[in-house]
Amino acid sequence: MVDQTVALRSADELVGRILAFSRMLRESGLAVTPGRIVDAARSLPLVGLDERDELRLALRTNFASSREEEQLFDRAFDGFWNERPRQSSSRIETDDEPAAEGESLAAVSATSDAADPSAARYGRIEADAERDLRDRWPGGSREFDRAIDALIRSLATRRSRRYRAARRGPRVDFRRSLRRSAARGADVHEIVRARPKIRKTRLILLYDVSGSMADATSFLLRFLLGVQRRLPGSRSAVFSTRFTEVTRALRRRGVAATLEHLARAARHWSGGTDIGGALAVLNRGVVRDGSARSTICLIVSDGYDHGDPERIAREMALLSRRVRRIVWINPLFGTEGYQPLARGMHAALPWIDRFLPGHDVRALRRLTAELGAM
């Protein structure tokens, strides 16, 4: 009898601890819902609680739902249950962890500053990366918005593999035909046909937000927001020496909220550039396994790069086989006497289907015309 009370009290205590832990997890950004807490609590009697590792795994499988969240969870768990953190093989950027690689990046840009006179253009350290994006937001420009609209329209004409009922079409919709006929006796009076739904083309947008692109940021932001709003199936990512998918950040309502969220999601604005690395992330993630063969990949970058040009070439070759088209918009292209001499740009050139300027509305219109022709 006595034993039971003790057990009960410790179970109560455990539940209390779990609740406190859940709150902490929620604060660190995991989607902690009442349902999940209940399921986590239901899991506890099923595992050996004297084994710390089982407790961790049981709670983790309930609360985390991606690899990054698993890692975030593990750190939080070690912190909360007060023990030495376990070794983690890879570091993942999170909101509560401001960029700490100032040092190493400074080292990189210091060496490249010495080696390459143009390094001053892109070698800025990430320290000033958190400049408020709102400062760079251009005032409203009807013309620009219209140009983006036209661009979206020209893209929105692809056939889906899903069908919808129609009077004419290549396929017979048996189900509908029969149902309709059943209402008037069993004979089939009318054949309902089906034709493919029109689907908007999916875009994958990869934006260079390194220091050298700072001047083009306002164009970029507008473009990013415009496309994402109108082609919801698209995915957007920004990169410098790190890679951040911002698709979700762009779904916010209101420009101010979006920009704020964007700045928080990607803390590496105005850093150095690693185009090859960004392409590698793309190739191993979003466009892996031919899942994106009907996608257009749009890269916005000036091609100034710290990395290995051979790697860029290799990743571009891979990418070109996995997406339908690669379009590269270079904000420098179009300025007088521009030649794609930047090493990164040069390495990428053979795999680009369309190489376009993109610094103003006129360039955007040309882009629209070109994309429409694809």
């Binding site: 499988t61 991606s66 990169f239 998918e245 960004a278 899942s291 790697r311």
Partner: protein
Amino acid sequence: MTAALFSSIDAVRSAFEAESYVADRALALTVMLAARLEKPMLLEGEAGVGKTEVAKVLARALDTELIRLQCYEGLDVHTSLYEWNHARQMLSIRMAEAAHDDRAAIEKHVFGDEFLLERPLLRAIRHRGPRPAVLLIDEIDRADEEFEAFLLEVLSDFQVTIPEIGTLTAEQKPLVVVTSNRTRELNDALKRRCLYLWIDYPTAEREREIVLRKVPGIRETLADRIAAIMQTLRKIDFAKAPGVAETLDWSRALLGLDVDDVAPAILEDTAGCLLKCREDVDCLRTVGAAAILADDVPAAPRMERAW
């Protein structure tokens, strides 16, 4: 039997082992919780780490039916849940008319069970025990978001409504294994419904055990060597790092060639078992087979990423 299998982590592990699947604690625990809490499990990981195999092994261990729904773009209700056999219906209507049957009877007849084409999800719902079926929803990230929303509905109460028949509810909820290659982010609601596990490439120790179990006749020293080399290979920045399936292919090839140790020339000659695209084979040559065998490769410059 079901209860015994899911009574503890160790029970799950030994059941999996009996089916030649080497499961680590995290996987065994997730499987156990999924079964006991009756929640689907969402397994993510690189291609070739054995996600799909989990469902197959689970079905074998339970001696129950494996119902597989392979996802692809455009997958819809008709191919995932049910479809009426229209051609047969029409034929049957004609025959009934010729026999001057009553209209209501015809309708009742042609929307009967024998005209219903059962697709995987319906099959899982109508599965009658004694043991739960295993429903494998493979590569959910290939399906489109519309389908994901529909699936969420099915997974939440295992109940579907077919207008002509009525509402069907699962008597025995299936064990659901959802896999994703992570080519896109999944719906939050779907993720919340599932127990999650990221399956990583196996450690050298585990991979060695896998090789020994799956490739009968291989010497332990060679299995050790293979497992070590795989660890090195996965450090290299390949477009498609070799998975466990590749390890097994390669092990069988080496066994067939009857080699005692892996020499550089052999690694190069058999690279086709491990790497499936030209750039990667080139990359292997650039790094050098000798360097790989000496575990002297530059770590891949992996870019930090956040989704």
